[in-house]
Symmetry: C2
Subunit: 366 residues, 2 copies
């Protein structure tokens, strides 16, 4: 499996793998794809710098990228203390009550500081970009539309291309007008922030609308789905949920066994698109936590970044609780396909052989 994107990014296969785990990202790059490290978990740029040093040492010179969360329009900004004041008491009380009703324990004192909350702030995302550009990264992806034009220019000045998410063709056009190099066409099926147009319809719309390589995101978890994505006009695939149930993920976040158990159990019907994670619609694993927010007395989610500030401490408690039914995790419909925790290289090999099989099957229809 080879497209022009492989030359552009210096990779063997046009498979981009997004993950918050440096161990997974490095393994994806070493397997011939492009590992893209999610930065939102890093509260300060120093931490990220340290982890990117590790990436530089563990990727055998293979290309890798980073993913930041940066709205084009600068949202409410400030220190966490300032922002906390903007969160209504009703919301705080609902979260506390829900955690109590779900039987979620308080965090042990040493886990208190783990929260990756500030990565959602514009200023922190900018510091992520600055640090990342001091490393030999091959891609900066923004998990929300175009980053500000000066950030794109800064990346280009370092010879680093920029990718942005689009859920509509008109967004994709705007991104490319802003200087974005690759469009990630994020279909309804996708985990995390996503729109309402399914990949089958969205992908060719975006591929026909822009004169830039398009990466297919949403519903890509097998070789036949990669073949479908390329048939629809994609230059490569953007995968995410697939890499959550990997052995390497546990090396970065050993307390993720419950999350992985939940993914292995889940069917493709066990996700929900909701604003409760960040304030914008995002697809999450459906659990007792997401269900609690659909109760008649549940408050409406707050705008970004307040909703994430509200729920981040709760996410940490839910994560530490170690109960698969209480996980809070962005995940796409493709999780129905995950039936066990595997090494990254094995998943990559399956993707590639499945792709060849799909193409061989298609050839027989001519």
């Amino acid at each position: 499996m080879h497209t022009a994107l492989c030359e552009t990014l210096g990779i063997e296969h046009p498979i981009i793998g997004f993950t918050p785990s440096e161990h997974v990202a490095a393994a994806i790059s070493k397997a011939g794809g492009l590992g893209v490290l999610g930065c939102v978990r890093f509260n300060d740029a120093g931490e990220l710098d340290h982890v990117l040093d590790w990436m530089d040492e563990h990727t055998e010179g293979r290309p890798y990228g980073v993913d930041v969360v940066m709205p084009a329009k600068v949202p409410t900004e400030g220190t966490q203390v300032d922002l906390d004041k903007l969160i209504p008491e009703e919301h705080k009380a609902f979260v506390e009550r829900t955690l109590r009703e779900l039987g979620v324990p308080e965090l042990p004192a040493e886990a208190e500081q783990r929260a990756g909350v500030l990565g959602w702030l514009h200023s922190v995302a900018r510091s992520h970009v600055e640090v990342a550009l001091r490393h030999p990264i091959k891609l900066i992806a923004n998990a929300l539309g175009s980053p500000p034009v000066d950030v794109i220019e800064q990346a280009h000045a370092h010879g680093v291309p920029v990718a942005a998410l689009a859920g509509k063709a008109e967004h994709a056009r705007r991104h490319v007008d802003n200087g974005v190099d690759f469009v990630v066409a994020q279909g309804y099926e996708a985990g995390g922030h996503t729109g309402e147009i399914g990949s089958m319809v969205l992908l060719p719309e975006i591929a026909e609308a822009v004169d830039a390589p398009v990466l297919a995101a949403g519903g890509i978890g097998s070789g036949r789905q990669m073949a479908a994505a390329l048939a629809l006009g994609a230059a490569g695939v953007w995968t995410g949920s697939l890499w959550l149930a990997t052995e390497e993920y546990l090396q970065t976040m050993p307390n993720s066994v419950a999350m992985q158990t939940a993914l292995v159990r889940a069917t493709s019907s066990d996700t929900v698109r909701t604003r409760i994670y960040t304030g914008k619609p995002a697809r999450l694993l459906k659990t007792r936590w997401t269900e609690a927010w659909t109760a008649p007395d549940a408050p409406k989610p707050l705008p970004m970044p307040l909703q994430n500030l509200l729920v981040s401490p709760a996410h940490n408690r839910l994560h530490e609780a170690g109960d698969p039914e209480l996980v809070s995790m962005p995940a796409g419909q493709i999780i129905g396909r995950i039936d066990r925790v595997r090494p990254v290289a094995e998943i990559m090999a399956d993707l590639l052989s499945g792709y060849e099989e799909a193409l061989a099957r298609l050839e027989k229809t001519r």
Copy 2:
């Protein structure tokens, strides 16, 4: 474009085209696909018989099929008068008030009888099947899951295979266990009754779950989408919305110019999945009518078949009003691709050449 399904159905290309118009159905069959005539518009079996006689005369001996709406579980049954009593006054008043507020005129007296309401009743759907089996049909499709087992047996006794819609792999398995021959995997993108799983995820799930040919429905409107569907494991495609904006459609329903204008204007964002058409979630063109049902004072849709009985007279008035912003029409996200009204044969030729192009593009990635 050729698969084993072509032999099974005696067609040239594995393209099934669903349509309520006999002119469109005949044109699809003559163009090498399988035209499938929707029967729900026929209040009595005699009318259907008459139209199928027309089909027999106008399809040049090419295969065609029919589509009925028959829940596996027999729903509330009765004459229209009996059923009318089950519709709450609040609902009737809301419909009347909404039509008035939208400025929709009363029907001219001669149009009063056109309403295709009773086709949604189980007994009427059964009479459709009986009439259809007296014609040389090559497929009975049920627009809702499995039909009752005795209906499947009746079709098989006439040598006619049965297709059923599935929005989840577990439904597909159940249909095949019931004796259904083909599964129509209906993705989230699709027009009409549809589930929440996108085609990209649903199709391979169903193709891997059942040992029966799978037809891809939802998001299929171009050759590259057909190539994607086959890459995902489909044996052929099931198309619907695509054929609404055809010249032949107007031959059956000349008062559909406003509907066609609405489709040409619409983008892929201009549909909505709602219960207001039949009581079950179905994707419709988004118009001022669908928006009215999202108002805070709008009542909740009634269960099938009451909701359809409630809104059918309104649909006729909306249709006759001739205003693209007031159309009530099931339609999939693929309508974003419709940019003009065309002859069926031209659409078919584009599908086939687009398919070849997509395959040629894929071959270069090996």
